[in-house]
């Protein structure tokens, strides 16, 4: 290999490394990571009676669409969903309501932010919701992990409904 060819090869190799590295870096940077936020709940919500006593509303609803992301306290993203109320077990919700789920995509962090392991609601799916009213009545904020139980099908659905009917009947009111 003469000197000119050697220089050309070196330049080509360097260019390939730079371009390849850039492409890899861009691909890596474009992949949003997941950040789990950890909270201290005000009550033991694994006890559905306490969950029902804490919630303003307990209802079965189908997620129609994701309507947006906002940040009421200016810190974390929260995601709003339009939900069709199928049946109310506690409270008087009906028709469609805005359900607010803490967590969502943060452009600033390039990350999906989740409260504990609480995955974002999925459009089309039916959930048992336990919520508190927020935003001066503009939305219903669900209890992460415990207040958005995917209903599943058949027997599982019946079991969940019976469990929550009983929980509402025997609810333990939240006391700070």
């Amino acid at each position: 290999m003469n000197i000119a060819t050697k220089h050309l090869s070196s330049a080509a190799l360097a260019l390939a490394l730079v371009l390849g590295g850039t492409t890899l870096a861009q691909r890596y940077a474009a992949q949003p990571r997941t950040i789990h936020v950890d909270v201290s709940h005000v009550s033991d919500f694994s006890d559905t009676r306490k969950l029902a006593g804490f919630a303003d509303n307990v209802f079965i609803g189908r997620v129609l669409e994701k309507t947006g992301t906002h940040s009421p306290d200016g810190v974390l993203p929260e995601t709003l969903f339009k939900v069709d109320v199928i049946r109310s077990l506690k409270g008087s919700l009906s028709g469609t309501v805005a359900v607010n789920q803490q967590g969502g995509f943060s452009a600033e962090e390039n990350a999906m932010i989740l409260i504990e392991e609480d995955k974002l609601l999925e459009t089309g799916k039916v959930y048992m919701f336990a919520t508190r009213t927020g935003g001066d009545g503009a939305w219903q904020t669900l209890v992460p992990e415990f207040g958005d139980l995917h209903m599943g099908n058949g027997v599982q659905q019946v079991d969940v409904v019976q469990k929550f009917e009983k929980a509402v009947k025997e609810q333990v009111k939240y006391q700070p």
Binding site: I35, H36, V37, D38, V39, S40, H41, V42, S43, D44, F45, F54, P72, D73, V75, L76, N100, Q102, E108, E109, I113, R132, T133, G134, G135, W139, T141, V143, P144, G147, P176
Partner: protein
């Protein structure tokens, strides 16, 4: 020879298994070089002070206020939300991580409970995840009846910060 390798492998597995089975780690924390430097924007100074001192006393991670020559790893702030189910929250962020105390609940808590919430969140900042109902790191910090690290909390802390 083979027997020795098998025995060594079993011994290693027995050493590792209890850690993975019973330890409660987040895989993330606010510790930078064995130290958490914090900035204070919370009104709950007593609770924040208790949280810092009770974990700092365990000795492996220095928890100290931010200064002119250090970079803050953690901020303490307050929120006021009646629609959420948490009284305390720790979140990892680019730059300083954040502990939020929810004054909607804390303003009605006793000093003991406020300290429990703050110490629990400091536990998250140290990388500890939720554990058992009779520990500070129970998912409901005010339900455990403790506001200082208990046996398993300490065990997790010492495993994570040997």
């Amino acid at each position: 020879m083979h027997r020795k390798i098998v025995v060594a492998a079993v011994a290693l597995a027995m050493l590792i298994a209890p850690l993975s089975a019973f330890a409660h780690f987040l895989g993330n924390d606010s510790v930078d070089g064995r130290e958490i430097r914090w900035e204070d924007y919370t009104a709950y100074d007593d609770a924040r002070g208790h949280a810092n001192s009770t974990w700092d006393a365990l000795g492996r991670v220095n928890i100290a206020p931010d200064s002119a020559t250090t970079i803050a790893d953690l901020e303490w702030r307050d929120a006021s939300r009646s629609d959420v189910s948490w009284d305390g929250m720790w979140s990892a962020r680019t730059g300083a991580d954040l502990i939020q105390l929810n004054s909607y609940y804390l303003r009605n808590y006793t000093t003991f409970k406020r300290r429990a919430v703050a110490a629990h969140e400091q536990g998250h900042a140290l990388g500890l995840a939720h554990s058992y109902s009779n520990q500070l790191m129970n998912s409901c910090s005010t339900c455990s009846g403790y506001n200082t690290p208990q046996s398993h909390d300490r065990s997790d802390y010492y495993s994570l910060w040997p």
